[in-house]
Amino acid sequence: MDVATLLSFGPRGWGDEIAWGVVVTVTLALATLPLGLLVGFFIALGKQSEEKSLRLAANIYTTIFRGLPELLTLFLVFYGAQIGIQQFVRLFSPGTTVEINAFVAGMIALGAVFSSFASEVLLSAFRAIPRGQYEGGYAIGLSHFQTMRLIILPQLVRIALPGLSNLWLILIKDTALVSVIGLSDIIRQTGVAARVTKEAFLFFGVACLLYLALAILSSVALGAIDRWAGKEGVGR
């Protein structure tokens, strides 16, 4: 079969399966991002807390999820958390089954990894904001929460954006690992096609190009966001 047929969207081609794989990869990355950012934000808050135990707890979190191979984290969540949660739920209502599917397992595992790196980026961004900004906020009568929201967060986003952009690009690549637990992402779909058709170079080449395309698209989008955030700063 020629390349055009192999990559076509018909029943004999693999184009539609691979396109679905792209959708799964992108959905997973997009679903992980808010989870990772939110958790990362709270971990960063914990790390710069004045309370020692809170700092320690946050540091343990990042040590674990930065140190474990992403693949291992994925297995621990996929197999371990499933069994653990199952037993936990059984305590309260025997007979119910709870299922963490491959997608959710991927989201939790990648989210944990993303958040531990994001907390570092956010922490250094926090430190880059002078104390005077907080004091200024309190001085004009804003509450702690308002100061955070109106004064600190907008600056935080701007300072942390390059670091977070980098983490986003890493996240897209890390989604490739979920193929190993059977989620039909780009790698798995092209892998099945490669094994069935024996055109391994073609299909894995296509996989690489698709990831590159996603990276380029992301760079363009992130560049636009960066300019937008930068402009807002100039206007001040």
Binding site: G46, L56, P69, L76, A176, I187, A194, G205
Partner: protein, 276 residues
């Protein structure tokens, strides 16, 4: 307020403020309790699940897997370091083609997952066996080990080239000019003045790259190289005992933390002259 108003004959140290039960403190203690409970649970699980026969059978395998992981990472990092020098130089070169080539190389290897690159080299090039046979390269590509080393080296070369470039460019231009005005040759300048300063900047990124490679190498089991992760999965598939994964997690964490602390220590030592 009162103390300020009172005529202070002798200055007493104020008593330390009582530690109040703030929200943060409660939260911190609760979270630490959660971690403590998890650690205790883990320890008791591993203690209860301890089986001497399993240990006897699988400990040597884990050890050999660990050896494979460290060898693979070590060899790849070294080859990558050698490859990264010309790439970094090309990236900074004024020759547009060289710069474009290096840019493309770096972009490709940093923009695609290591897993995809490994598959592309192992299975992808595997389908060109007749051609590779004809030029005598098949004996190399036949072995999964060499394919893994090649994929990892090419990958880390791209990252290391960027680290090197960033570090060299972080050295102020004045250093070059100063050396030139002293009559030093360009090569001498690079070797004696620029590189030592660049390496200080590059130390931490290099350390991170090694850590990334150790974590990333866990994927080689998929192409039949039995590293630590591969041995773990094999042990799990024979015993279905979850502790196999937990032991692997402990080993990986131990290596990564040791490395991180080692990098910190080295960095503290070589930047002593910069401390005021």
């Amino acid at each position: 307020m009162n103390t300020a108003a009172a005529p202070a004959a002798s200055v007493e140290m104020p008593p330390p403020p009582a530690r109040r039960w703030t929200r943060d403190r409660v939260l911190g203690l609760v979270l630490m309790a959660v971690w403590g409970a998890l650690a205790l649970g883990l320890a008791s699980f591993l203690f209860n699940a301890w089986r001497p026969d399993l240990f006897e059978r699988y400990a040597p395998r884990y050890l050999s897997g660990l050896g494979i992981t460290l060898t693979l990472v070590g060899v790849s990092i070294l080859i990558g370091a050698v490859l990264s020098v010309p790439i970094a130089l090309m990236r900074m070169s004024k020759n547009r083609f060289a710069a474009a080539f290096a840019y493309g190389y770096v972009y490709f290897f940093r923009g695609t997952p290591l897993l995809a690159q490994t598959f592309l080299i192992y299975y992808g090039l595997g389908s060109f066996r007749p051609q590779l046979d004809a030029i005598g390269l098949w004996t190399f590509f036949r072995e999964a080990w060499y394919c893994a080393v090649l994929a990892f080296s090419l990958n880390t070369a791209a990252y290391q080239a960027e680290i090197l470039r960033g570090a060299i460019q972080s050295v102020p231009k004045g250093q070059w000019e100063g050396a030139a005005s002293l009559g030093l040759h360009r090569f001498q300048t690079f070797w004696k003045i620029i590189l030592p300063q660049a390496l200080i900047v590059a130390l931490r990124p290099y350390g991170n790259e090694i850590i990334l490679m150790i974590k990333g190498s866990a994927i080689v089991a998929i192409i039949t190289v039995y590293d630590l992760m591969g041995e773990t999965r094999r042990a799990y598939s024979r015993t279905f005992d979850f502790q196999t994964y937990l032991w692997a997690a402990i080993i990986y964490l131990a290596i990564v933390e040791t490395l991180r602390n080692a990098v910190d220590w080295v960095e503290r030592r070589i930047t002593r002259h910069l401390k005021r």
